[in-house]
Symmetry: C2
Subunit: 337 residues, 2 copies
């Protein structure tokens, strides 16, 4: 059973995940699983995954059989487990909980060599609907406080399987970084009575230099103080704190913008590894005047080293105005040599 | 000129470093510079680095010539620059400063293939003295608030040069993660009137299961809630908030313990890449009852992925009790297959 432990100094929780320790690949330098025939996420390999909890099956095919376009299954090596009661305990100074939560995999296409940005926009919109529906379903479990949806693409992103997939981890507490975002945004709201992301959008749309794409009620911007080169945020233009309350009809323009941004990144940066994260409101506080859900995409072009780990200070060699210009103009990015 | 920018939501500063953008290796998958003959840190290559600001020259050889055992030089591609006045400016919601600070390289040995843990203990102690003396010197500059000393070893650690070196970055503000550590520790102190690290040491020495080595007034422990497998902290047993006020005589036992820990890590984990960070008190608040300086060593055995970047929650597949047992017993670590 995995265990959640809290650092007594900064209050950060970590998951001590004994299940995952059994995977030797976690400790040896490796590339993602490349053997197409042996991939458990490919069509025809359904019996090798846990039973699906959601699927896109336009042909009405039965669960856990071929015919799907997308499937959501519990992770076979979960970081947190849905079984058991939530138990809290102390050990002197220290705090722990058993690792209750959920860890699911969204298999994005039956094609091993597929890419989400190459899928028809309706297919990508269905994946965005899967994020929404799984979050709504997990919200019914009163032990869960937060759902983080994320995608690791490519070797350096931390992906352990090459087959296109994203993941969802539901936790029994609101993670520290989300709390920090919420509390910074609340501070702004208390002074100004406005959402800070709404303010950012207004300023960015007025200035223009960091906007990458603005269409269909969604906007992609390079943030003013990005940690990573070509870091890009995607936000709804209107104020919405909860992703899962997005009307289904809005998922098509979102998919259209997301697909376009990923295609431009791939073209500009030569198919970079990346992480995509959905920053959402907590499950128990969906409607917030001070929070605005957003996607963050960080291409992995640089390595995080001791300075960053020690200080939380990031060194970013690409001004966001430059990054936005490249992504906007579709001018190919050529590192200066 | 590099620029410091503040994220308006969470208050994190980033360095937008245009100088470093000129290094194409920052954007192409790469291994650290391996060509021994072309390494600017090797003996005989002194003219290729900026002039040294500190050196260990037992033979009394002249500055910037061979004969040294260790040298400190300004970084040729600095993340921050010591020139110019500190200027602050705003842009609507946003805050920026020009990138005033210092960035120095501690070249640890003239031997390209050397390893700090293989150096004589007196040599390693001299490197620890260099950290101390450079910090004391930089503290004289009133624009600087913090000095972060760190070392990146090996490819995956973010090291861009193979030749053994550590680095030091002095910043015009206290970094966010240091502020968070200070504020968490202050909260503990206000309630208990005790340093939280002193409390942790007492509990760890009593329990024993996470202690790796305890000798000469210093202790190495696996923290209760480590972000990374085999993460190890080294602390003085007595309460000291400021590293640079460590008596020079104490650097020999510290070097002895640090060398031993690095040798055990190398043996146990097959020479892993790692980051080493010195967590120190701010320059303008050296004597603090609630802060305790410490070294953090994080071997890079796993990759940080979307979940970690999105939540600040880390998934660690090795319980620290296991890690400490391996590092204590010198039993070789074999991932279960």
């Amino acid at each position: 059973m995995p265990e959640l432990r809290r650092d007594p100094i900064v209050g950060r929780w970590v998951i001590i995940s004994t299940e995952r320790a059994r995977r030797p690949s976690d400790f040896t330098p490796r590339r993602p699983e490349r053997r197409e025939g042996s991939c458990p996420f490919c069509a025809g390999q359904e019996p090798r995954t846990p039973d699906e909890v959601w699927a896109l099956r336009p042909d009405g095919s039965p669960a856990n059989a071929p015919g799907w376009l997308a499937r959501v299954v519990p992770n076979k090596f979960p970081a947190l487990r849905i079984e058991n009661e939530l138990e809290r305990s102390g050990e002197g100074l220290y705090d722990r909980m058993n690792g209750v939560g959920a860890h699911e995999v969204i298999i994005e296409t039956p094609e091993h060599a597929g890419r989400i940005e190459q899928l028809p926009v309706e297919h990508l919109a269905a994946l965005l609907r899967a994020y929404r529906e799984r979050t709504l379903d997990l919200a019914k479990d009163p032990r869960l406080e937060y759902v983080m949806v994320f995608k690791n693409h490519g070797d350096l992103s931390g992906a352990s399987l090459e087959h296109p997939h994203s993941q969802l981890i539901a936790t029994p507490m609101v993670p520290l970084m989300v709390e920090e975002e919420l509390s910074g945004a609340l501070q702004h709201f208390r002074i100004k009575q406005r959402c800070i992301w709404c303010d950012i959008l207004r300023q960015e749309r007025h200035a223009g230099g960091r906007v990458v794409l603005d269409q269909g009620g969604f906007i992609a911007v390079a943030p003013f103080a990005p940690r990573f080169p070509f870091e890009t945020w995607i936000l709804p233009v209107g104020h919405h704190s909860s992703y899962e309350e997005t009307p289904v009809d809005d998922l098509l323009p979102l998919a259209s913008l997301l697909g376009e941004i990923l295609r431009r990144m791939s073209r500009t940066l030569d198919d970079p590894p990346y992480n995509l994260m959905l920053h959402n409101a907590p499950l128990r506080a969906r409607t917030l005047d001070h929070f605005h859900w957003h996607l963050e995409i960080i291409p992995k072009l640089t390595r995080v080293a001791g300075f960053e780990w020690g200080t939380g200070f990031f060194i970013n060699p690409t001004p966001p105005e430059e990054a936005a210009r490249y992504l906007r103009g579709q001018e190919p990015w050529r590192p200066v040599s």
